[in-house]
Each structure stands twice: as C-alpha cells, then as structure tokens.
C-alpha cells in the first residue's frame, strides 16, 4: 500500500512538473510584457514620472487624472476619435457587407475579386497611409480638378482617414460577412424564390436576419480597432492640421514622448484601457447573447 501511494504521489508530482514547465515560457513572456507593465503603469499614472532615468519618482495622487479633463487637446482628441470611429465603423461595414453580397454571387471573377478586396489588409497601416498621402495630395486634385487638399482641412482629413481605413479593413470585414452569408441554408433562399420573393426581399427577410450575429461582431470589431488606430494616423495626417486629427492613441504618444510627461500620458493610457475594456465587454456580452438566441 505504501508503495502504491508513493507511485501516485510520484505521478502527481510529474504532472505538476509537466504543467508548470510547459506553461513557463509563455507565462514568463506574458507577465514580463503585459501583466507587470500593466500594473506598474497604473502605479505610474499616480506619479510625476517623466521618463528621465535615475530621477526619483514621487506619488502625486490623482492630479494626472484631473489634468486630463481640463486639457483641451485631450478632449479634442477624444471627440475626434469618436467622430472618426463612428464614421469608419459605418463605412467599413456598409462597404464590407456590400462587397460580401457581391462576391457571393456566382460569376467567374468572384474569387479574383475577393483576393483583390482583401489585399490592402495585408499591407501595414503605415505604408498604406503613405501611399494614400500621395493619392490625396497628388492624384485627387487632378482627378476632381480642384486645388483642395483633403488633408489640409480637419473635417476632410478625418474623412480621408476613414476612407483609408475602409480601403484597408473593408476586405477583412467582407470575409466575416462572406462566412456568415455562406452559412445561410440554401433551401431557405430557394423556397423564398419559389414563393416569389425578389432579390431585395430575400436580402431583407432572410440574409439580414441570419447574418445579424456577424453584424454585431463586425461592428464592435471595427469600433475597437478604430479606437486604437495609430499607424495610419501617423503616416496619413500626422495629426495635422494643428493637431486636429490627432486620435487618442497618438495623443498619448505625443503627451509622453514629445512633452516628456510620462505620468500624464500613462494616466491617459489607463483611461484608454477602461474605454476599450467597456467596448470589449459589451461586444462579448452581445455576441454571447446572440449565440444563445440562435
């Protein structure tokens, strides 16, 4: 009996060793890169940290946070981010869904078109932004025979950002919608057709309701991506004109590095996390609810 117990103990030990040794590499990197900096960051957001090595850091309470709400630039960035995100979310989903409807038709070039529409997604936002910078500055004025540079006025610059994001992400969202559309049972569409429903009626009564879960996912996915957008912002407008197109993600970088105000930048970053977390939780909640209904 004793020997048996020893064996079991031994087996348990072995399992324990296996468990932790298989987990350690990932956990070590994960803690080092995400978890520790996250909590240290919350602490730093209550200090006067300015990033200069060797300088003592002292606790200053919540004053970084209260400064955020009186900082005009931050408030401006926040509103501009909301404006841009709503615009991008709308455009990306309308275009993405339309493209999906189009390329699920049975014509020969449908597959080629899918490939083309998805392609911009693979190219980095920074590169895309530069490409479009050239298009907006050099090509658009020629095509539309105007002197106006869309990137020079803040309202049209925001529109430009949304256009580039749509070009970039439309194909990605299209893929999600294609998967949803292809999941619709063909019999339903056939039956509707036999009953005399036209294309629009079928789209409205069958396709829309059945791809609704994909809508929820895509809307929130595009919303959270837009909220975090940084690279296209840097390369397309760089916040210009007069910092009026500086989205939150970029504002945090400016505050921290250009103004050497790490504590305040970090406080913004913590609030930024709270906003993203709320968006994500709503997304998870809604898609779970949808799953139950299905």
């Amino acid at each position: 009996m004793d020997r048996n117990r020893g064996k079991i103990m031994n087996k348990k030990m072995k399992k324990h060793v296996l468990f932790w040794s298989f987990l350690t590499p990932t956990l070590a990197a994960f803690f080092l890169v995400v978890i520790i900096p996250f909590f240290v960051g919350i602490y730093y957001s209550f200090t006067d940290w300015n990033g200069i090595p060797g300088k003592a850091i002292s606790w200053i309470g919540s004053s970084n946070y209260s400064k955020i709400f009186s900082d005009e630039q931050v408030i401006k960035s926040f509103w501009v981010t909301i404006k841009y995100s709503l615009l991008a979310m709308l455009l990306i989903n309308v275009i993405g869904f339309s493209l999906a409807l189009l390329v699920t038709q049975k014509f020969r070039t449908a597959n080629l078109l899918r490939t083309i529409f998805f392609m911009p997604n693979l190219i980095g936002g920074l590169i895309l932004g530069y490409v479009w910078r050239f298009v907006f500055i050099k090509i658009v004025p020629i095509i539309f025979n105007t002197d106006m540079n869309m990137l020079a006025k803040s309202s049209t610059a925001i529109m430009s950002l949304a256009i580039v994001s749509t070009w970039q992400m439309g194909g990605y969202i299209m893929i999600i919608y294609i998967a949803a559309i292809q999941g619709i049972p063909q019999e339903l569409l056939e039956a509707a057709k036999i009953d005399g429903a036209n294309a629009w009626q079928r789209t409205k009564a069958i396709i829309f309701p059945l791809v609704a879960p994909a809508f929820t996912v895509s809307l929130f996915l595009t919303l959270s991506r837009s909220f975090m957008m940084y690279d296209v912002n840097v390369s397309l407008t760089n916040g210009d004109p007069a910092r009026s197109t500086e989205l939150i993600a970029m504002e945090i970088i400016t505050k921290s590095f250009k103004e050497s105000n790490f504590g305040e930048g970090q406080a913004q970053a913590v609030l930024f996390f709270v906003i993203i977390a709320i968006i994500s939780i709503i997304q998870v909640y809604l898609s779970k609810k949808r799953e139950l209904e299905m």
């Binding site: 990197a29 995400v34 189009l102 038709q105 490939t115 980095g124 590169i127 930048g265």
Partner: protein, 276 residues
C-alpha cells in the same frame, strides 16, 4: 433564366469596376515609382515616359532595404516559431489539466486581450531599458515582446481548438510508451496544424506590419524593420516622391508575393480567427 444571366453579368461588371477602383492606389505607386522627379510633377496620373528602374537602387540604398528586409524576416519568423511552440505547449497543459489554477490562467490570458498596447507601452520600454533588463535595441528583446503580446490570442485560439480533439490518441501514445514530451511532439503538434496556420497568419500579418513597438524599441538603424525604414522617405526634409514611391513599392512587394503563394491559407486563417 435569361433575366438571371443578365443580372449576373451586371453584377460582374460592377464588381470588376470596384476591383479596378480598389487597385488604383497600387497603380499609382507602381507607375510613379518608375518616373523621374520631373516626370511626376508634370504627369502624375499617366504612364511613365520611359521605363526606368533607376529609382529602385537609390531607394534601396537609402532605406537599407536588404538589411531591413532581413531584420523583418528574422524577427517575424523567430517570433512566430517560438510563439507557436510556447503557446501550443501552454494551451495543451491548460486543456488537459482541469483545475482552478488552469482556469484562472486561461481567464487571465483572455482578459489581457482587452489591454491596448498604449497602456503598457511606457512601463514596458522602461522595464526593458538600459538600466534594467537592457533588451531595448536587440532582436531578442522585441521577439520576447511579440511572444508576450501574441500569447493571449494564440492561447485562446489553441485552447478552443484542442478542446475538440479526442484524448484517445494521446492515451494510446502513452500506453505505447511515449512520455508527455514525445506525445506532444509526435501526436499533438501534427493534430493542431490547422490552428497553428491560423495563429501564424494572424500574428504574422501583425508582427510584419507593426510600427509602434519597433519605433519605440529599435532605435538602432542596423536592426530596424521595413516599416521603420519606409518612414525614412517621409521625414522632415524629404519630399522626393519618386524615391518614396520606389521605397513604398519595395515595402509592399514581399507581402504581395507572400499573399499570392499563401492566399488560400490566409483567407482560411482570417475566417477561423474572426469567427472565434
């Protein structure tokens, strides 16, 4: 029947028109990269006067193209290999061990997906900085960072997939005398190949194109990646559009080549990643 054919043809024409519209930016970059500085000024939309490739060697030199391409390749490939190995190992023991600890760890990985990079960026750069871990400006430093940031989604994807594979094969292997490491290498790794492709593609696109993280931790010119190199042409004083267009093209070409070869897997990978 005839009406349907006409409708399809109309749809196809609309599709092709949109497809061409989608490709306009690429056309613009390619044609202008072949023009001279003067040629761009007088004729931005048309085809190049002469077919000249002289912008390319100069752009390659300015952005140190071969160096930055090899840096991007090394960083992306090593990060992906380690990420796939480590996160599949972790997910396997998390799936096969049903304890409170394993649940809590999984939950931590999933919850961390909500943390935007900006929230950890400053303390991270500080922690990896000269007077602490001293890993800034090293390839190893940034690879560790990509493993850390990529692990959340990867563990989540692996975990979901592994739950569905039957335990029997692993049991059979252990009865045949495989130790856990052998079981993992010979049985589990081949079984999870589809999800590994997804993990590699989703993380690969992100790592290859990432700009913010390298811009913070790779200041040394010798180890900078392609996005950092492309930024060169758009600095404070360069307005050499002809060189910039060649530079952008150089940055885009590797991805397009990759896309042509791996298209099927990329689309599949994105679908299975998006639906999760």
């Amino acid at each position: 029947m005839k009406k349907r054919r006409i409708r399809l043809i109309v749809m196809e024409i609309i599709g092709l028109a949109l497809g061409i519209l989608y490709l306009v930016p690429f056309y613009v970059v390619v044609t202008n990269s072949l023009k001279s500085k003067r040629n761009i000024l007088v004729d931005t939309i048309g085809l190049p006067e002469t077919l000249g490739f002289e912008n390319y060697p100069r752009a390659m030199e300015k952005m140190d193209f071969l160096k930055s391409l090899s840096n991007s390749l090394i960083i992306t490939v090593l990060s992906l290999l380690l990420l796939i190995l480590f996160s599949s190992m972790s997910s396997w023991v998390l799936v096969r061990t049903k304890t409170k600890i394993s649940n809590a760890i999984l939950l931590l990985f999933v919850a961390a997906m909500m943390i935007p990079f900006q929230s950890v960026m400053l303390p991270l750069v500080n922690l990896f900085g000269v007077d602490k871990l001293n890993l800034v400006n090293t390839r190893m430093g940034i690879i560790i960072m990509y493993i850390g940031f990529g692990s959340s989604m990867s563990v989540f994807l692996y975990h979901g997939f592994m739950k569905t594979i039957p335990l029997d094969l692993e049991l059979a292997a252990s009865i045949d005398g495989c130790n856990p490491v052998q079981t993992f290498v010979y049985i589990v790794l081949p079984l999870i190949k589809p999800i590994s492709v997804t993990v590699a593609i989703l993380n690969g696109i992100w790592i290859w194109n990432d700009f913010l993280l390298p811009s913070l931790v790779l200041q040394d010119k010798a180890i900078r990646t392609i996005p950092l190199a492309a930024q060169y042409f758009f600095g404070a004083f360069s307005k050499d559009w002809h060189l910039a267009m060649a530079g952008l093209n150089l940055a885009i070409i590797p991805i397009i080549i990759f896309y042509i070869f791996a298209q099927k897997y990329i689309i599949k990978g994105v679908i299975s990643g998006a639906i999760k």
